[in-house]
Symmetry: C2
Subunit: 309 residues, 2 copies
Amino acid sequence: MTQESSQVAPRYLTGDKAGLQEFLAKFDVFLFDCDGISPCSTSAVPPRRSPAVTQSRKQVVFVTNNSTKSRADYRKKLEGLGIPSTVEEIFSSSYSSSIYISRILQLPENKRKVYVIGETGIEQELRSENVPFIGGTDPAYRRDVTPADYKKIAAGDESIIDPEVGVVLVGLDFHMNYLKIALAYHYIKRGAVFLATNIDSTLPNSGTLFPGAGSMSAPLIMMLNKEPVALGKPSQAMMDSIEGKFKFDRSRACMVGDRANTDIRFGLEGKLGGTLGVLTGVSSKEDFVSGDVRPHAYLDKLSDLLDSE
Amino acid sequence: MTQESSQVAPRYLTGDKAGLQEFLAKFDVFLFDCDGISPCSTSAVPPRRSPAVTQSRKQVVFVTNNSTKSRADYRKKLEGLGIPSTVEEIFSSSYSSSIYISRILQLPENKRKVYVIGETGIEQELRSENVPFIGGTDPAYRRDVTPADYKKIAAGDESIIDPEVGVVLVGLDFHMNYLKIALAYHYIKRGAVFLATNIDSTLPNSGTLFPGAGSMSAPLIMMLNKEPVALGKPSQAMMDSIEGKFKFDRSRACMVGDRANTDIRFGLEGKLGGTLGVLTGVSSKEDFVSGDVRPHAYLDKLSDLLDSE
């Protein structure tokens, strides 16, 4: 109950044209959650098509915790859904992580390499920031652990432990294995910074849930008794990166999303002027109305935004 | 500070022949930790060679949390170290788990199959109790997840989700992967009992630490927000199994081991008559003397037992 908005019931804006116009008029910037169901599914009306959002030159930022895709991949995905966007409007946890490593972490000259657990999206964003890395999709790490590995890792043998690694970045990795976890553990024990693109424990797919990026960090958290710095929603490191790039007035910005404990929390803790929940995703009406983390307003579905025309 | 012994400083028995004789005389049964350093390393004098333990026909039980080996494998390992034993004297977390499933869990007729994350030790012990299982070392599970898997798992397709699975048993698996974790998650969501052979987060190897069995359960614990029933030390389910088999008087039994928070806790919470710490492993003198979990007595090394001759 630390959030101001938790004290008040959120406004229900579906079908309330005047209320919706009044609500939208308060904001110049809309951050749209781009995970799960809204707005990146075909059933959602693209925010780009809402005159209330676009005709008055409001800024739109698409925010996603999915680290497996790069911003360029996401732009293509949005395009495929009929939502025009530019790479610059997309903010992913892999991009946020890359910026954090290249611009915020002050790494010693000889400790600038990143050991990656994750897929190509992370690699592309690290490359775009000129951050050197190992691991990731390199097939050399997609194998069983061997007796020789234990000895070499224990001895810090440079054929397997790169002395220049100063950061371990953990994102969703569909090829996670014992060797990768063992190496991440030893890099962190040797002093590397422990980062996670995001700590969502699950990933929605095919109408149900599968292991998320947080599940890749879970063994390390247990072994190290230490939490990673997480760069995705609801981490404010991501909000700071977004603000750093778009230079907006937080009181004139609104976060739109379906998950109370990530999207809405992200906006509330970032002290944005508004948060707007949509009911087409993870959180229920009950979550929004009587949960611990409540948006300022909510809609049945994103296409209800069109009612403000 | 719930354990009685935490209130008193443990007795230091190295070099104290009379004290050692007096201490050992109180017990008929000795449970020896068989993980880490004592007594299964070549540097430890086998308890079997200690007249104080063996000549008076005291019962010895070797207790291990390592689920990758069967009891038969362990007997061979002990033999290789010059320690004669019988399979019946060995109690492993995989055996303990198998007994728990076959004799304690009351599973419905059509839900008796176990989905295993783990190695051959678990499989051998499940076979010895006639428990049907899938997963484990089956190469069919050692592969990448595919788009078809998501759909089939979501739909509960019987080509990948076996409707007879009523238990998920998670032990140390050097071949852990995304598919295995996804399947375990869905079996538990569908009602399967969540068991772990043990929840040690790390595994000692080559003088350092690697991911332990607990690290295999960690993603599931995070995704499900639920802890497994753990069958290894310090779980009292293991103590109950040992007592059920050997029918001893707990007040006349002593747990010997190197880890305060597993071995010593196991003996204290099991209300054994005694606990004996040895300093050749994980816990330090400070842990034993001023920690939260203190043994009744401790020795520099296991071979100091010979001083009681």
